[in-house]
């Protein structure tokens, strides 16, 4: 069974697109050691895309644009990797994968991991809430609620939408053994 929230786009593999793919099995290393890799990988993805937005010393707007794209990709990739580490079901044989697809008008970042049914239920609840709320209001409401609790639920996704103007979509696929394969897709316009 496949359940989609928003449209999941195909990754583009042709001369008009650049693609990077990472995949790993988190159980092979303790989480603490893995965590450091999130930052390294996210920074790498952010730096990598800057190649395609070259600087022109005569035009300061090019530096600003490069900075913004590096920042957006670095933040989003880091959040996707952190979520993958936190919510991946380590008993699953599925790997965590991250793809970055640089197309003509968008950068598409996609992360997949396996997750237990209870985790998917929570995420589904959040996604449904997102679909029926104003993301700006939900952001402030969530911050006020978080101030009274120990949770930071959804803050990464809400920051992507509000601060980076990103479009988000999710796919949940039931796995044969148990649990789900969860795909999170983040699209930013360039």
């Amino acid at each position: 069974m496949v359940e989609d929230y928003g449209e999941i786009y195909p990754l583009q593999h042709d001369r008009q697109a650049e693609c990077l793919h990472l995949s790993f099995w988190p159980g092979s290393l303790p989480l603490q050691q893995r965590w450091r890799n999130n930052g390294l990988s996210a920074d790498f993805l952010g730096d990598y895309v800057t190649t395609f937005f070259p600087l022109d010393d005569a035009d300061p707007a090019t530096r600003r644009r490069q900075n913004e794209i590096r920042g957006a990709v670095g933040f989003i990739a880091n959040e996707l990797l952190e979520n993958a580490m936190k919510f991946h079901d380590e008993r699953s044989l599925q790997p965590i994968t991250v793809d970055m697809n640089l197309q003509k008008q968008v950068i598409l970042l996609r992360e997949t991991n396996a997750a237990a049914a209870a985790e998917v239920e929570r995420l589904r609840g959040f996604v449904k809430q997102l679909q029926t709320s104003d993301p700006g209001e939900l952001y402030v409401q969530q911050l006020e609620e978080n101030a009274l609790s120990e949770s930071t639920a959804g803050m990464g996704f809400l920051t992507m939408i509000n601060d980076y103007d990103a479009d988000l979509a999710w796919r949940f696929e039931a796995l044969a053994d148990s649990g789900f394969r969860v795909t999170t897709q983040v699209t930013i316009r360039i």
Partner: protein, 121 residues
């Protein structure tokens, strides 16, 4: 992570440092903060709360804070809400125009605390 248990003036770890400058009523945050959840941010939250206490004004200097993950944004927001509720201390945040995330995300803090003075160098 290393902390100074006597004065708690510095919290630092790989790639970041948070320092309370008593003399100038300022907390400097520098580097990349990507800690795992609010529990790992707790020493930084304590330092910020301590800085707020018994002061009439406080500046958070973020001009060297290159990166902040969403748990860090939540930590900062929690602190701003607590400063808002603690009305005897005026809060000022200094950001940098050179660091892309700050121009985007710091403005949200004004929505939580309209009296917050936010400046970008």
């Amino acid at each position: 992570m290393t902390t100074n248990p006597v004065a708690m003036n510095i919290v630092s770890g790989e790639g970041y440092a948070v320092r309370l400058d008593h003399e100038n009523d300022c907390v400097h945050l520098a580097g990349s903060l990507r800690l795992d959840g609010l529990s790992e941010y707790a020493p930084i939250s304590s330092l910020l709360d301590q800085a707020l206490h018994d002061r009439s004004e406080l500046t958070l200097d973020l001009r060297e804070l290159e990166f902040l993950n969403s748990s860090g944004i939540a930590t900062l927001s929690k602190f701003v809400i607590s400063a808002r509720n603690h009305q005897d201390c005026a809060l000022r945040i200094r950001g940098s125009n050179e660091i892309a995330w700050q121009g985007k995300s710091l403005n949200n803090l004004k929505r939580l605390m309209p009296a917050l003075e936010l400046t970008f160098d």
